[in-house]
């Protein structure tokens, strides 16, 4: 296989996995017209290279009895000499409560997404941990009220096939 073919194969595998992380490899091989062993090898290579970082499940927690709140926190920080934003980002992402951390362009620097059991838990984290960090200048916390669409999947309503049953 040439370099271009490998890149193409990798892209089609990633697209399929992004949509369905549990896809059966033999079935995927049939669909893509590839060999199942080649797919398995490509996947393990991409795992080693850190391209595939995990196989998670998309969950709509609102449909469970579990009480939890998600917050988006805009954080303004002072970058550190020689380190830029990396070391402060690391200080923040090491907290297990923190789900995601992004460096953002525009009016603030870091976008922190976190989950907690209650508003109180989240606000305590922001007040006692996040704002207390030396290089953090300010935080603005936004609580998520409802998730309509998550990672490309619409949670709000089921898509129905409205086509007639038989058409020419």
């Amino acid at each position: 296989m040439g370099d271009k073919d490998i890149q193409e194969m990798r892209m089609s595998i990633l697209k399929a996995l992004e949509y369905d992380g549990r896809v059966d490899l033999n079935e995927l091989a049939v669909r893509l017209g590839l060999d199942a062993t080649d797919i398995a090898n490509a996947m393990s290579d991409m795992e080693k290279e850190g391209i595939i970082c995990g196989y998670q499940t998309l969950i709509d927690w609102d449909k469970t009895d579990d009480e939890r709140v998600t917050a988006l926190i805009e954080v303004r920080v002072t970058p550190q000499r020689g380190q830029g934003f990396d070391s402060i980002a690391e200080r923040i992402y090491k907290y297990p409560e923190v789900d995601s951390v992004y460096l953002i362009s525009g009016g603030f620097d870091l976008m922190v997404i976190m989950e907690g059991r209650s508003l109180k838990e989240v606000s305590q984290f922001v007040t006692n941990k996040l704002s207390a960090l030396e290089s953090v200048l300010s935080c603005a916390t936004h609580f998520i009220l409802r998730k309509y669409k998550l990672n490309g999947t619409v949670l709000a309503r089921k898509h129905e096939d409205e086509r007639m049953l038989v058409t020419p």
Partner: protein
């Protein structure tokens, strides 16, 4: 009282698909693989452009042949993808679906008694439209051993001095067959030799899985004897927008426009604005949908092979056309029993031409999960038939 209905209409066979639809609609919980339209929604940016045109008050007629902006985009698209140049001012007409283009194309070209060669199995409207236009349908039965392609020998055998038009329906509904350049060359040669026009229905042109689609109009000497028909329904998942088009020499397109002007006026304006956006920015959507169809196509063919169900490999549209001859049943019986026993609807081959006997049309305009469930049931059904 006088007979209220014209004989040529009352004698027209109603569509075999319609008949089967009536049976299926009695069974609302059936899973269907019988649909001839994409399962994808029209890409959002295209719908958005339609909505935006309404917001701007674009609610009037367009010119008879359609928005100039859209005709220009069609010419650009046709040049880019199929290497044929048309003049947007005089060689393109926007129609209400590809179906209208078929109808007015035949009506513009046929004298009473002119013969129209129609390869079957194929789309249901060619024969009735030919008859309504005063022409005489001459059916060529395509064969599985030729992968349901039209061969030059088959065409030559059907030509008479009265032959005026060849309808060329590829990529094909219901078989999924395509015609490659080498197949088309022999056909083009005969058309030129015998002075035959071609009505090339290329509505599935964007959906091929073995190289790019080749239009017969791009072959030397064919552009001026071909009416190229295409549209937005299949490629851009826009069936409900009812929008198609025909390209061809001005001498024919201008006459088609006259008929269109008197019976349709113009194609829906909202759809035309949405279609401009589809042609300008929709290539990626088409490529993605095409990839998805191809995955499903490979999946179905693999499953048929595993079950031992005979099926030639189709490279176009979104249909497979497996043979059910081993079961010794008619296509109608097979489909009805499958529906009754396992609640799966597929279309009998005979609904799309007598030579479809012994075959069924299975559409893969469905999600893989949907296909898996249906295939599981079909497998149960055929193993029961084999163990009878």
């Amino acid at each position: 009282m006088r007979e209220p209905v014209a004989k040529k209409v009352s004698e027209m066979k109603s569509s075999g698909i319609r008949k089967f639809f009536d049976i299926v609609s009695e069974m609302p919980d059936a899973i269907s693989l019988g649909v001839g339209e994409p399962d994808f929604d029209t890409p959002w940016h295209v719908r958005d452009e339609g909505i935006y045109s309404l917001e701007r008050g674009k609610t009037f007629y367009t010119s008879n042949s359609g928005l100039m902006e859209l005709r220009s985009e069609i010419c650009r698209y046709t040049k880019k993808h199929y290497e044929i140049s048309y003049d947007p001012a005089s060689e393109v007409i926007i129609t209400v679906g590809g179906s209208e283009a078929i109808d007015i194309g035949l009506r513009a070209m046929l004298e009473d008694g002119d013969e129209v060669i129609i390869p079957e199995p194929s789309y249901v409207s060619y024969v009735p439209c030919t008859i309504m236009a005063g022409g005489k349908p001459v059916i060529v039965s395509l064969k599985e051993e030729n992968e349901f392609r039209l061969t030059a020998a088959e065409l030559e055998a059907a030509i008479t001095p009265r032959t005026k038009i060849l309808i060329l329906p590829f990529p094909n509904n219901p078989t999924g067959a395509i015609m490659e350049r080498s197949d088309l060359e022999g056909i083009a040669k005969l058309c030129i030799e015998h002075d035959i026009y071609v009505l090339s229905d290329e509505i599935y042109a964007a959906l091929t899985y073995k190289g790019d689609h080749v239009s017969i109009a791009s072959l030397p000497g064919m552009r001026d004897r071909t009416i190229l028909i295409n549209g937005f329904s299949k490629a851009f998942a826009m069936t409900g927008w009812r929008l198609g088009y025909a390209c061809g020499p001005e001498i024919i397109i201008s006459q088609m426009t006259k008929i269109h002007q008197y019976c349709i006026m113009c194609a829906p304006t909202t759809s035309q604005y949405a279609a401009v956006e589809a042609l300008r920015h929709g290539d990626r959507d088409v490529a993605e949908m095409c990839n998805a169809y191809n995955e499903r196509r490979r999946f179905l063919l693999h499953e048929f092979k595993r079950m031992g169900l005979q099926c030639f490999e189709p490279f176009g549209a979104f249909y497979v056309f497996p043979s059910i001859k081993e079961f010794g049943m008619t296509s109608d019986d097979f489909c009805t029993s499958l529906l009754m026993a396992k609640k799966v609807a597929v279309v009998p081959g005979t609904a799309v031409g007598d030579c479809g006997e012994g075959f069924v049309r299975i559409s893969y305009a469905y999600s893989i999960d949907n296909l898996k469930e249906a295939i599981g049931r079909i497998e149960e059904f055929i193993s029961e038939l084999r163990n009878r």
